[in-house]
């Protein structure tokens, strides 16, 4: 304790030495962290802004400043508007589904019993898989040739990835399968923090389950709901693997997300890192705005 509190007045010299020692050793132990954060985070962050304002082809590198050409090229890209709209649509559905189902599953399994422990484990197992592995798994599962529902699909002349809406719904199912357990876990942590006696009191007052849920659980769960919503919105806006592997942006380029657009502008065809960097800066700015708005909204409803 004494190491951090004010120096005892009787012994100034050892304290100063100790404080200097703190400085040196503190930075010594923190220096690997500082090095990594500086070289692999701060420098690239500056570099992406620099790149977004420069002509920067994949192979020949920096060709000098051309601001704001990359930004106008980014916005003029023929998939820009569609990918933004699709990403927002996907984010909306993914967030509603994951928050709703995460809370539902959490309430289903929150009391402790052996059976509920087993349920929790089964909901959580998919979250140990990588998103790429899960996408590959569902790629086969949704196959009209070998998937378990192939005969049904053939009978109705329908397929999981055949139309834009079916492809979106199928991807959402994959995401729910992979992440619902993860959100259940976060919700469980939040539910545990609600004191039991509040529920006792509500029961004494004869409150219905419906009332208890909306008047007690939801308001007291607000910090958890804020955290999970922000996590889910951020993660969904940056969706890549599930579409890159599962739908490959199809059918008819209907499922291209913004990050997929960045990837394809940078490495598939156009090979223009400058425009890709401009798109990245736009995403970064949008994300900052969206998260500030969300934080405000959750704080605002806290005060009311």
């Amino acid at each position: 304790m004494t190491l951090h509190t004010a120096a005892p007045p009787a012994a100034p010299t050892p304290t100063r030495r100790r404080r200097n020692g703190h400085r040196v050793r503190g930075w010594g132990y923190a220096s690997p962290t500082a090095l990594f954060v500086l070289v692999l985070f701060v420098v690239p962050l500056f570099l992406v802004f620099r790149m977004s304002a420069s002509r920067w082809p994949l192979l020949s590198g920096d060709q000098g400043i051309n601001f704001p050409d990359n930004f106008s090229a980014a916005v003029d890209n023929r998939f820009f508007v569609d990918s933004v709209l699709f990403t927002l649509k996907y984010t909306f559905f993914a967030t509603i589904l994951l928050i709703g189902l995460g809370l539902g599953l959490a309430m289903l399994v929150q009391e402790s019993s052996r059976w509920k422990g087993l349920l929790r484990t089964s909901f959580l197992v998919p979250s140990a898989l990588g998103l790429a592995s899960a996408s590959l798994l569902f790629y086969v599962l949704y196959s009209p040739l070998v998937g378990p529902l192939a005969p049904v699909m053939e009978h109705f002349g329908w397929s999981f990835l055949g139309t834009p809406n079916a492809a979106l719904a199928s991807t959402l199912f994959l995401i729910v399968w992979r992440y619902a357990g993860f959100y259940m876990l976060l919700m469980l942590v939040g539910l545990q923090a609600i004191p039991t006696d509040i529920y006792e009191a509500a029961r004494m007052d004869g409150a219905s389950r419906w009332h208890t849920f909306w008047r007690i659980t939801v308001p007291l769960l607000r910090p958890t709901l804020a955290l999970t919503t922000i996590l889910c919105v951020t993660g969904s806006l940056l969706a890549f693997e599930q579409f890159y592997i599962l739908t490959k942006g199809g059918p008819d380029n209907s499922t291209i997300t913004v990050v997929q657009l960045i990837y394809s502008v940078a490495f598939q065809g156009q090979n223009d890192l400058g425009v890709a960097a401009a798109l990245s800066v736009i995403v970064l700015a949008a994300l900052v705005v969206i998260n500030v708005v969300q934080l405000r909204a959750f704080r605002g409803s806290d005060e009311s």
Binding site: G26, M107, T121, L188, T196, Y199, L284, N291
Partner: protein, 300 residues
């Protein structure tokens, strides 16, 4: 194998939302009758969650016409997988190398950093901690384009070491936070006693504190492993040599072999090889997995 982390305080865990239903004792006939719809419903949900994994495992040893496993049960699909391009052993070795390097670096850096943040006062301490957490705020994709340029410049382009370094950086917000609160939860008297006895601060860390923060280390290591083993985007962008691909990339490319025909059996075998270590580790270390979320969520 239940999640002990969430429920190890029985009184706290038993937040009762359904008093009427829970009041019905399950041993009586009426209790069982009340409970049955719940069992059926929740059991069906569990089946939905487990079915894709079971189906894939079974089908990976099932026959597909025109593939490595033409008829009968067997490991033909795994043989196809094993001989894909540079061979599965190469890709497994690449993935294992990246994952182990990422785990070791993450443990090393976050242990030293967590110790510094928890036990020392130094100028810039809070700024560095906040900057480390800020990594979470910046989208992965936004950083990978400049990282691609940067790594090429410093001679780590198209290199598995480069991929491991990048993945380690992305692990730092969680792992530094986790190790900091792990060290902070150890009573100060413990390392102060060691320092008074003449230990250096490093000896105090190594001999006295490390054993005390072991659960934190396991959680950090588990998360780093799962993230690195499963990562797809970083190697997709940073690696352009087929011999250096990691397993997720290799399995993803393997889908389309000759003439655009998709080898479903080999893909399933690949998914099983990818998923198996993760599921085994998850089941073994489930408590630590859950703990990671608890500590993160409590302060977040």
């Amino acid at each position: 194998m239940t999640i002990a982390g969430v429920t190890h305080h029985p009184d706290e865990a038993a937040v009762e939302l359904r008093p009427t239903r829970a009041a019905a004792p399950t041993t009586t006939l009426a209790g069982v009758a009340l409970r049955t719809p719940f069992w059926v419903f929740s059991g069906a949900l569990a089946v939905i969650f487990l079915f894709p994994l079971v189906w894939t495992s079974v089908k990976s040893v099932s026959p597909y016409p025109g593939t490595g496993q033409v008829d009968g049960w067997g490991f033909g699909n795994y043989v196809t997988l094993a001989h894909y391009q540079a061979g599965i052993w190469q890709y497994l070795a690449n993935s294992a190398f990246v994952s182990l390097l990422c785990v070791l670096l993450t443990l090393l850096i976050s242990t030293l950093g967590g110790y510094a943040f928890a036990r020392f006062r130094f100028p810039g301490r809070n700024a560095l901690f906040m900057l480390t957490l800020a990594i979470l705020m910046v989208p992965y994709a936004t950083l990978l384009i400049p990282l691609y340029v940067l790594l090429n410049k410093i001679g780590l382009g198209n290199s598995l070491v480069g991929v491991a370094l990048v993945l380690t950086m992305f692990q730092l917000p969680f792992s530094t936070f986790m190790m900091r609160i792990s060290f902070e939860s150890v009573p100060r008297e413990l390392d102060e006693a060691a320092l008074v006895d003449g230990c250096s601060s490093f000896a105090a860390l190594w001999r006295v504190l490390l054993p005390a923060v072991r659960p934190g280390l396991i959680t950090v290591g588990l998360f780093a492993f799962l993230a690195a083993w499963n990562d797809f985007f970083a190697p997709l962008i940073l690696i352009n040599d087929t011999n250096k691909m990691t397993l997720p990339l290799a399995v993803s490319n393997l889908r389309v072999q000759v003439q655009g025909v998709i080898d479903y059996g080999a893909t399933e075998a690949g998914v099983v090889v990818l998923a198996l270590p993760c599921i085994v580790l998850f089941l073994l270390l489930q408590r630590h997995y859950v703990r990671g979320f608890m500590s993160g969520a409590l302060k977040g």
